[in-house]
Amino acid sequence: MLRVMAPGLQSSLQARWRSGARHLGLPAAGPADTLSMALANRLVGNSPGETAIEITYGGFEAIIESDCTIAITGAHGRIEVSGAEMPAHESLHLRAGQSITIAPPHFGARAYLAIHSGFQATEFMGSASTDLTAGLGGHDGRALRAGDRLSAKGEARFQGDLQTPPALRPVFTEAFALRTCASAETGLLAPASRAALFGSAFTAGRQATRMGLALTGQSLRLASDGRMKSAPVFPGTIQCPPSGTPILLLCDAQTTGGYPRIANIARCDRHLLGQIRPGNTVRLLERTPEAAAAAYTEKLDLLADWLQPGPEARGDILN
């Protein structure tokens, strides 16, 4: 049992992405950074998509109410257990009565706190992830508040003492270079704008939420008026509204949209989207779908050696 004392800017329970229900308008929800959550779960003996806490910009405090093993990954500042500094990327065995605090990170946006056996949460359509916009799943379908008590699904103590191999620990900076594929309406961009899309640096806009963020600093021009019938969009899709400022969609994004879809962040690098902060630099590196798929397979094979997912959970590591 863990009692939330301060949730920070936004904390929520997230599990595997909700798939198979986009045709009903249900977004993926789930972790904005699937890889960091998978790494946290591994350190406490869980499957990659087990229910964990996603913490935005630190500022998180909790009291441990019964003995448990937890782990913290992703973007975090100083981690303290009852005042003593503790490392990320390690199994932490905590005792009832101890407190845990996570300070704001200098780089990146979201930390993940996993507990052995996972947190109890409400399932909705195949996933326990909190859909914050619809108010479904997770903990009452909402972000965590001070005073919320979270329970582990089973025995919360884990016998292992694990550390993420240093080579597998993601490092976040103020700049993101993301492998990206052209999309259905890339051809609607004026030639100079297509060159700018894949050749220039963008700045992440002032609002960077789980739904999406604007890519500012380059105004793109569409060769047509850009009016089109509503069409499917996914996390990683980049839309170009008439303003010319592209919008990059994340895990909570809507399922359809009426703006031209000019690019898609490749699945191998999509986990990084959850760590982009306002003002960060974003560069899009054009790859063919085949090259992007090969990069996905390579990255997933590398990670799977450490994460050891079951066949069902392999897809939860990178989504």
């Binding site: 198979g20 986009r22 308008g25 999309s183 259905a184 509503s230 069409a231 499917p232 490749a266």
Partner: protein
Amino acid sequence: MPDRLIWTRAADDVFETAVTSASMARALAERLRDAGQAEDVVAGLRSVAVRFRPDHAAGVEAWLASLPEISEPSPETGPPVDISVHYGGEFGPDLGAVCTALGLAEEAFIARHTGAVHTVEMMGFTPGFAYVSGFPEGMDIARFDDPRPRVAAGSVGISAGFTGLYALAGPGGWPLVGRTLDRLFDPAGEEPFRLRAGQRIRFRAV
């Protein structure tokens, strides 16, 4: 005319095809979903997208290439579902403005809106949101540039030739003409969303 399906790779993990009608998109999407080979199959108004794991691309591509062409499905039969709507007032704050734009008296608007049999063309955008055709008069009604931060569950909007039904409360940019108090979403139900793509509905004024 049947559509020959030409699939293009819209991402490392998405194939998409264009079709000639929303009903064709629905029928194709349903068929693909039933095959259980994709993570998600989503119909747009003139397109269908299939999302898959990039390391499964070759298998998915072969499967999609083996599909026969698709014909316009036969229209739905059976009685339409009734949806009760409170038009105007606090439930439909934009009814007056919509009627002015259409050059219709409010009674005439309601008579036309309730007189037609409508079809749910697409579910999407947000959970349970239904794009409903059957009121072409509203073709030139535009969405607000700045959406309302929150509209109530059951809100009924008009835009671009569609009636939009909000199953859940949330931000909304459609001019609102009314609200239904019928439950469009029940999280505990076997089928949480009352409406589905392809369903015919009739609006009743209450």
